[in-house]
């Protein structure tokens, strides 16, 4: 009987040590942040093209990195810069969800952001001030589609630190 009790007590102690072990806890924590670099991926209200998103995701996956999709919100001049933006939130949130869903299929962790500014360039400036990143992936625009103007891209190349990957518009 005593032997049985001792064995049981030993098992309980062993299990509790295992349960409370920080190492085990770390292993069981869902890995939402990758160990690799951060790939910044800004886009506006038109949303990213699936081609550009896939390129950014492949890059993040290859480097075991984290994708940081950044929705750029433009704030009208007659609003304070920190005003709530319900209309743009209704665009931004589904876009962020869609990006996250796509990233899940690539098994890439996501750390989403919303940046605001008076213009896309202003929001881009805020983004590079607030975020640390290893690569910045940006899609160029053609014929009024999604992506960024040549001037904005040229500005980023001049001002943003780190590696910048500019994606050509498809078909060009």
């Amino acid at each position: 009987m005593i032997v049985l009790v001792v064995i049981l007590a030993a098992a309980v102690v062993a299990l509790s040590i295992r349960s409370f072990s920080p190492q085990r806890r770390r292993q069981e924590e869902p890995a939402a942040v990758a160990l690799g670099g951060r790939v910044l991926f800004p886009f506006g209200a038109a949303g990213p093209t699936s081609r550009a998103l896939d390129v950014a995701l492949r890059l993040a996956r290859n480097e075991s990195g984290t994708l940081v999709p950044v929705f750029l919100a433009r704030v009208a001049l007659d609003l304070p810069l920190d005003a709530p933006l319900p209309r743009q939130s209704r665009i931004a949130i589904p876009l962020q969800e869609a990006v996250e869903q796509r990233a899940a299929s690539f098994e890439v962790p996501v750390d989403a952001r919303i940046e605001r500014g008076r213009s896309y360039r202003h929001a881009l400036r805020q983004m590079i001030v607030h975020e640390h990143y290893d690569r910045l992936v940006i899609a160029a625009r053609v014929n009024g589609g999604g992506g960024f103007d040549a001037e904005d891209i040229a500005w980023l190349l001049r001002n943003a630190p780190g590696e910048i990957i500019v994606l050509r518009p498809s078909g060009s």
Binding site: P84, S89, I93
Partner: protein, 381 residues
């Protein structure tokens, strides 16, 4: 002398019939034998509105010369010396010409109320201070004249004049709101179904919140306030044992981690569907690390865009802090992330966070937001 009682006729936009309804009720009061005067009427050349004012005593306006132009303003001293039982005052958010007693008409109204005169007034929802930015973003049009929200909460009664966007546009097209030469411009700019729907939604929600605010007794509920009227405020309240609040308030419990963004987004979506306010809470059990501070800043920016309130509370007992915050903020819905897996002994020794929260917050719904990374892991097994 007890202050007068204030009744506000609230609309989503010009032309819904606020002034018309105010005049109708004024006429009813006059017929009931009360001393009613028209302190200021802005009929906008609408014949039906003018007809509704027929028979009511109209106090003369004051002529003011401003920048070489003759403008007519409400005569506040005239109203105070006439001292009627009830005064009807249109356009609560109006800005007076410089040189008058007050800058804004709502300040005139406060003085009239202070003199013990009851007031009926009209205002559009866009003029409420707290909604001004939000409605500018929704409609693209900034309204410069605003009134403090307290006017609405302290009013004896708020009557929402509701009309569907389609009916309002039909009224506009029929020439019942603006003159024919202004109709097309109004239709092209402000009077769009999407603008009107957004404004209507906000107006309905605002009045619902106002009703709820009035039914919940506050510490000063038995003391008539500056605009509180001659009856104690608690007489106006519904029985506190009546069914509880119908307005929802959501609380997202997060930690400064990338996963929190998803919890906030899911909570915001639910808040949008319910027309509810959204609070985001992090219970800091220790000083945040550099990474956590970065995440917290990102969450702060997200909360500001969404119009949510980010709260950071210090405390060792997460459940106790959540319980206190939920009580203070009137939370009806709590959303948390997927709890981390726990070992068998931990499970035996202590109930999980979700169970403890459920026990500590009776009457608050609890929702666990799924973690996509776990779905992925499950699939790969």
């Amino acid at each position: 002398m007890p202050p007068g009682r204030h009744k506000i006729f609230l609309g989503m936009v010009a032309g819904v019939g606020k002034t018309y309804r105010m005049l109708q009720e004024g006429q009813a009061e006059a017929e009931a034998g009360h001393d009613v005067v028209l302190g200021y009427l802005e009929p906008h050349d609408r014949p039906a509105t003018l007809a509704q004012a027929d028979g009511l005593e109209v106090l003369p306006r004051r002529g003011i010369t401003y920048r070489g132009n003759r403008v007519e303003e409400m005569d506040l001293p005239g109203i105070l010396s006439r001292a009627p039982e009830l005064c009807l005052i249109d356009e609560l958010a109006h800005t007076n010409a410089p040189g008058l007693e007050h800058e804004k008409r709502w300040q005139d109204v406060e003085e009239v109320l202070g003199a013990g005169i009851d007031v009926y007034s009209t205002v559009n929802i866009q003029h409420l201070e707290s909604l001004n930015d939000q409605l500018t973003e929704l409609t693209g049009i900034r309204v410069r004249e605003t009134i403090p929200d307290a006017l609405l909460t302290e009013a004896e009664e708020v009557v929402l004049i509701d009309i569907t966007p389609r009916s309002l546009i039909e009224r506009l097209q029929a020439g019942k709101i603006y003159k024919p030469d202004a109709i097309q411009s109004a239709l092209d700019n402000f009077f769009k179904v999407e603008n009107l729907s957004a404004l209507r939604e906000v107006a309905l929600r605002q009045v619902a919140q106002d009703v709820e605010a009035k039914r919940i007794p506050s510490a000063d509920s038995v003391t008539p306030g500056a605009l509180g009227g001659s009856r104690p405020r608690d007489e106006r309240l519904l029985d506190t044992a009546a069914p509880q609040a119908f307005s929802e308030r959501l609380l997202a419990l997060i930690t400064p981690h990338p996963r929190a963004q998803r919890i906030v987004r899911r909570t915001w979506r639910s808040a949008q569907r319910l027309g509810a306010e959204l609070d985001i809470l992090w219970v800091a059990t220790r000083e945040p690390t550099t990474e956590q501070q970065e995440q917290l800043e990102a969450l702060r920016r997200l909360a500001s865009v969404l119009g949510a309130h980010l709260l950071v509370e210090r405390g060792d007992d997460i459940v106790a802090v959540v319980q206190r915050v939920a009580r203070e903020r009137g939370t009806t819905y709590l959303l948390i992330g997927t709890p981390s897996p726990r070992g068998p002994i931990e499970r035996l020794l202590r109930p999980s966070l979700d169970h403890r929260l459920l026990r500590a917050l009776p009457g608050v719904d609890l929702r666990i937001v799924a973690d996509r990374t776990l779905i992925r892991k499950e699939k790969s097994k």
